[in-house]
Amino acid sequence: MLLRFIAKRILLSIPLLIGITLVTFVVSHLVPADPLTAVLPERAWNNPETVRMYRERWGLDRPLHEQYLIYLRNLVRGDLGESYTTRRPVGTDLRLFFPATIELATAAMLYAVTVGIALGVVSAVWSNRLADHLARLIALVGVSLPVFWLGLLALQLFYAKLGLLPGPGRIDTRLVAPPTRTGFYTIDSLLAGQTDVFLNTLYHLILPGMVLGSYAMGIIARMTRSSLLEVLSLDYIRTARAKGLAERRVVVGHALRNALIPTVTVVGLTFGSLLAGAVLTETIFSWPGIGRYAVDAATKLDLPAILGVTLLIAVVYVVVNLITDILYGVLDPRIRVG
């Protein structure tokens, strides 16, 4: 049953992805600039032969619809084309930069979920008391502070002034990256048996993880609070209390599980946006992730790279939504697929 559900969802996402490539393709071509401007050095423009060679290399000499069909044909073969700026296959680039972003987004999500839910529970249980006000204030701050501001401030305070947490980058500046196997420093360092690099990687994830996760943390805290408050006022909770169950069991065992369903939706959606929205955090923390790659690609009109990133993010959204749907079933058997 579940497998059929997943298969159906994947099939449904194919037209969606094709639509995304089409829109991106057309929109990118509306920009009135030549993508080669950013790529070719001054001297090369003097030689029409070189310019022609470059146009041919990326198929830019063909009409738009032909370019698009060629792109689709290559895409089916798993070929995302070659980036104008990095001169590497886009697939290689995505493999190179995406793990850093996943690592960062995972740290952010871990922070957002644990702290967000904890704050939400505290808020709901002691609602309208001091603890609630404090927790809500923290959530509000998390939601409203712009990431770039929070990031700069956090770096300035915890790194530059206090020296408590490490500075920008995935590892200390004087350490060398572990040999690349997966691209995840946490995994690669363990595979290479470099525990010092592993610990250093974790240490470097704290600050950017918290900065990137602060918004999701605030949202999750608010969502948990409101849905938990709602659940806590329901009859079955009153029954549980009347039975004489410990308050702790009532909240964690009975109420929280039901209250988490809206939270899971939010978590799913924000995880996607964390991946896509890591641009600012990555810039501030010199994090070689997909967000920065996307910005570079966009400013240089690097079409294959733009398309590659867009597709990747779209796929991530599809997958995350799928996982969210499956998680609903785990939390609430009534909405289990089938």
Binding site: V31, A33, D34, T37, A38, L40, P41, E42, R43, W45, N46, M53, T86, R87, D93, L96, F97, A107, L110, Y111, V113, T114, V115, A118, L119, I138, L152, L155, Q156, Y159, A160, K161, L162, G163, L164, P166, G167, P168, D172, T173, R174, L175, V176, A177, D196, L199, N200, L202, Y203, I206, G209, M210, T283, I284, F285, S286, P288, R292, Y293, K300
Partner: protein
Amino acid sequence: MFAHSLMSGTVATALGSRMGRRRFLQLSALGGGLLATGSLLAGCRGGAEATPTTAPAGEQPMPTAAPAGQATPTAAPAAGGTFVIARLTDTITLDPSRQYELTSPIVVGACYERLVTIQPPDIKTIVPQLAREWEISDDVTTYSFTLRDDVTFASGNPLTAADVIFSFNRLRELKDNPSWLAEVIAKMEAPDDHTVVVTLTEPNAAFLAMLVSPNFSALDSQVVKEHGGTDQPGADQSDKATEWLNQNSAGSGPFILKSWVPETEIVMERNPNYWGQPPALDRVIIRHVADPTTQRQLLESGDVDAAHNLDADIIAELEKAGTVNIVRGDTLDTEYFAMHTSQEVGKELADKRVRQALAYAIDYDGIIEQILRGAAVRPPSVIPAGLVGVAEAEPYKYVRDVEKAKALLAEAGLADGFDLTLTYSSGGTEVGGVSSEVLASKIADDLSQIGVRVTLDPRAPDVRLADYRAGKLQCTISGWTPDFLDSHGWAIPFGVPGEAAARRVAYENQQVAQLFQQAVRVADPKERARLYAEGQRLLNEDAPFLCLYQPKAQVAVAKSVEGYVFDPVIQVSVAQVRKTS
């Protein structure tokens, strides 16, 4: 560094060392899941904090104690160590024959060597590197080089004439961005293992200076061939060595390339088989850090030893604080104001007197003092200061004279001024890190003082560049970065009709073109200087381009760093850098 250790000391006292730090984390993480990670790692950074410049234990296979045994007479205390540069890297490839960016030359300059080089700050005198001596024919068409016979590559292979010929041929046959540099070569011969005779397609007095370019590095032909490299025609398709050369080096330089992770780091280590004086450093890491403020934080915290992309404001603050040293040097970048000379596009600017009026109206000193905080010079024309024939052209430099400017406008029948559209890159940065908007506004302001009504026209950087190249702009501000170390590299594109820059403003003056073309065909430096100076005099009189400034490079380095000198070709020769303390 001093400030840093003092600071961490204060923090330690205030917070009661580790306990305090743990509680602090507790507060900030609010008992979240990261707390466990936080306390687990609390001790991790301890050592690094106390002595920020020491490499972490276990990361340094060769402890600094090892080289101490073979102490050289001049040895400063404690050689070796890891040198970290924070830089906005733009590397596309580290293959010496393909790279044409600004960061790659640091690596190529450290891992490879060239026949000839320079010793900055003197950029005019060309000195031997792999070539022991050379002879140039009177018609500047044949260059014979005698190679050193004691050079070995990092692989252990000896350097021979065949390696040099292979490298130059491969550069040309790859048909990549820098290949045009080698197109002046007609043929190369090796009468013996240590002699290379290069014959050019036509007389070229700039060829020796061109060889200073890192693209003319000598590659270990045996190693490159082993990894799929070739110098044969068709190499643009058949050469497969670049992928390997992006992660390894095949040179004779004092360092070897260990790894490159794009947009992250480039790691080089000391070449244990180096034929010459071994470098002081064990390892050099170039770390990609895009943001200037972040670079500053890393430097001040002792996490990096040099920061390459600081803006003028940060440099001024650092200089005031005195916590780091600022190294300055002349770049070969020039920023210029271009005016279209045709009636159709340039409109009023088609009249030479109007262009001259604008040249007299611009407050050049103000630009350098206010916008660049003095960190720039201004050569007489677009050819950068320090090159042949530039000092000689000094009398032809424009200086601000508002009265003269107004008189020239009146002479041209525009006493009441006129409307001018000045196009610039919106949100862009000009050479020397100057905001395009700030510079354009300053010029608009200066021109308004002689009655010119300027409309500022910001366009996306790539759009502006494309429009400028297509010759569609009435006037604009633009930058030029060097291709090689000779005035020839500027004289042709700016002075010869139809060439890269001249075409963009439809500039044509056959007299200028002839002078500049003649200047590269004569061997005598004095005569060359005279020809370039005369060409610049006429070019300035026509005033299609006005050089606004030539920025100085400003690099901030930690106090413990010695021997850091800015090099306009390879940014810095890391082999000369030492770290004390």
